[in-house]
């Protein structure tokens, strides 16, 4: 296969993996944020 055909071949799968990886990381980030929000921040109570 020529380099262009190779690229054509892999572009049939890209960006499924990148999307999965990015979604996984952002999902973990969101879960982490909400853990801090619910377990540390809100219990420490009101300030304004």
């Amino acid at each position: 296969m020529t380099p262009e055909e190779e690229l054509e071949r892999v572009m049939r799968d890209v960006p499924r993996g990148a999307l999965a990886l990015a979604a996984l990381s952002v999902g973990l980030l969101l879960v982490g944020w909400f853990l801090v929000y619910l377990l540390v921040f809100l219990p420490r109570g009101m300030v304004s």
Partner: protein, 541 residues
């Protein structure tokens, strides 16, 4: 050697020397704060050291690296000689003279105000003038970058500016906007006070002006890393850039959203209203968009490389990447640290939630992860990538480069994970010593020692970095430098004018800045709050 290459080498070396000195000071500061007895400790040595550490890392290492890298990109990406090299050298000498002036003032004990100034505390005027000279040198660089792009466009009508140069000019334009805040603060408030011309300072105004600069300055440091991600990493990994268009859009978004967000540094200040704080928090949330776009685009570019090398399945391409190449390894480690640092940053910017962590070690952990973990580790990788072409020699050992990058990653995590924890417990910032006899503080001691160990690992890594660069002197001569710039999957033939220049975006920045900072700055002239008396720190009692 061309002018641009000599310029790049000179700038990089000044930056890296400042970095090595600042690293030693940083480790000593952590030692002082730990329960272990430390030498040389007085309040004056400690806070002068903190001032030197911040100044060297945030102003010297970064500014010189950004400038040096810009000169390299302008010559190589545009494939033409740098315009007005004499002006570039003027900028270099100006910034170097300013650096020396500031450093001598700090080490004489007359500038213990930390790199973020804190008026009405006022240091010797030579500290501020030194920093103004550094900024003036960088302004020359900004103009040269804009001129270089303009000349190239004149010679290549209708063709898209190469992404690396487009991004470099985005940074130059952003830096001109960014420095307006701190320049106004220094020229109209701080320097007149340091000269004895003013006895009082409007502190709310000075803090708001500094906040204008304080967030965007981080993106100024960060953009060289992003340029490497977009234009060099896909090539180093053996793949293609997934999307050139989205790269351009990302750098435009950084230009727009890094500026009208600085009030998130003042969430705990009394003198700004919740309405403007909330507006700027909302805009801050949008800054995450270009960052997350980058994670996706670079992920997809690496996925192309991994699959071309035989990787299969949803995640199999990750293992197939050439991790033995320092630039690829640095990118992986940088993204991991960006995830931790970004997590901390999300908490910091979270409006009322900022109260939980403001001015605690949590914040220190966050910006060391972003700065050391995403900015500086990519400066290492950029240096490793450019050095063969700058010195005409091949690297004697890639293993030593990989070891250095791994040590940096491990040290950064060992140092900052305890800081996050201690920050949540309430360990506050900017003190030389803690009273470990207090039962609450005594419990922090072991974690402070763990973070000190992380600092020591970082010191070893930093010194190994300098050694690795010096080792190029014994590398074999190699006169065919490898191509560093990546090709996109669809190399751009034509791009919309909006994505080939910055006129439109400058208008948008102006509008957003008026909206976000217009009233928050104007209010000080409307309510005319009472001033605070100047407190000099440079007069020995």
């Amino acid at each position: 050697m061309t002018h641009a290459r000599r310029l790049a080498l000179a700038h990089f070396w000044i930056g890296f020397i400042a970095f090595a000195i600042a690293l030693v000071l940083g480790v000593w500061q952590m030692w002082v704060r730990s329960p272990l007895p430390a030498p040389f400790l007085t309040a004056s040595t400690y806070f002068s050291s903190v001032t030197a550490h911040g100044t060297a890392m945030a102003y010297v290492l970064t500014t010189f690296t950004v400038m040096g890298f810009g000169y390299y990109v302008a010559e190589t990406a545009l494939a033409r000689a740098l315009p007005a090299p004499r002006w570039a050298w003027t900028g270099f000498w100006l910034a170097l003279a300013g650096t020396l002036m500031a450093v001598v003032t700090i080490f004489s004990g007359r500038a213990a105000v930390l790199f973020t100034f804190y008026p009405p505390l006022i240091a010797s005027v030579f500290y501020y003038i030194g920093l103004v000279l550094v900024v003036a040198g960088s302004w020359i660089w900004c103009v040269l970058m804009i001129v270089a792009m303009g000349q190239w466009k004149g010679a290549n009508p209708g063709r898209p500016v190469p992404l690396a140069m487009f991004a470099t000019v985005a940074n130059a334009v952003m830096w001109l906007w960014t420095t307006v805040g701190v320049t106004l603060e220094l020229l109209f408030q701080v320097i007149p006070a340091a000269l004895g011309l003013k006895a009082q300072i409007d502190v709310g105004l000075s803090r708001t002006l500094f906040s204008w600069t304080l967030h965007a300055v981080v993106y100024f440091w960060l953009i060289p890393s992003y340029i490497a991600f977009y234009t060099m990493v896909p090539q180093a990994a053996g793949g293609r850039l997934y999307s050139d268009t989205m790269g351009r859009l990302t750098f435009v978004l950084f230009l727009i959203y890094s500026l009208p967000v600085g009030l998130h540094h003042l969430l705990m200040d009394p003198h700004q209203s919740n309405a403007f704080k909330f507006l700027q928090v909302a805009l801050t949330a949008l800054v995450s968009v270009p960052t997350l776009l980058t994670v996706f685009t670079i992920g997809a570019s690496l996925e192309i490389a991994g699959r071309l090398r035989g990787g299969r399945g949803l995640f199999g391409w990750i293992g197939a990447l050439p991790w033995e190449r320092p630039l690829v390894l640095a990118t992986g480690l940088a993204f991991l640290m960006l995830a931790f640092g970004g997590f901390g940053g999300l908490v910091n910017m979270s409006y009322g939630m900022n109260a939980m962590v403001h001015n605690t070690s949590w914040v220190t952990a966050h910006f060391h992860l972003i700065f050391g973990g995403t900015v500086v580790i990519m400066y290492f990788a950029i240096a490793y990538t450019l050095w063969p072409s700058l010195t005409g020699r091949a690297a004697p050992s890639l293993a030593a480069q990989r070891l250095q990058l791994w040590l940096w990653f491990i040290g950064m995590l060992v140092m900052t994970l305890p800081w996050h924890y201690l920050g949540l417990l309430g360990q506050w910032r900017r003190v030389a010593t803690f009273n470990y006899a207090d039962p609450i503080i005594a419990a922090w001691g072991p974690w402070v020692i763990v973070s000190l160990v992380g600092g020591l690992i970082l010191l070893v890594s930093g010194l190994l970095f300098v050694r690795n660069l010096l080792q190029f002197a014994i590398g074999r001569a190699s006169h065919v430098p490898a191509e560093v710039y990546a090709t996109a999957v669809h190399p751009p033939l034509r791009v919309p004018a909006a994505l080939n220049g910055f006129r439109l975006w400058n208008v948008l920045v102006l509008v957003l800045m008026l909206l976000a900072y217009g009233y928050p700055l104007a209010q000080f002239f409307i309510i005319d709050p009472p001033g605070a008396l100047v407190h000099r720190v440079d007069q020995r009692r």
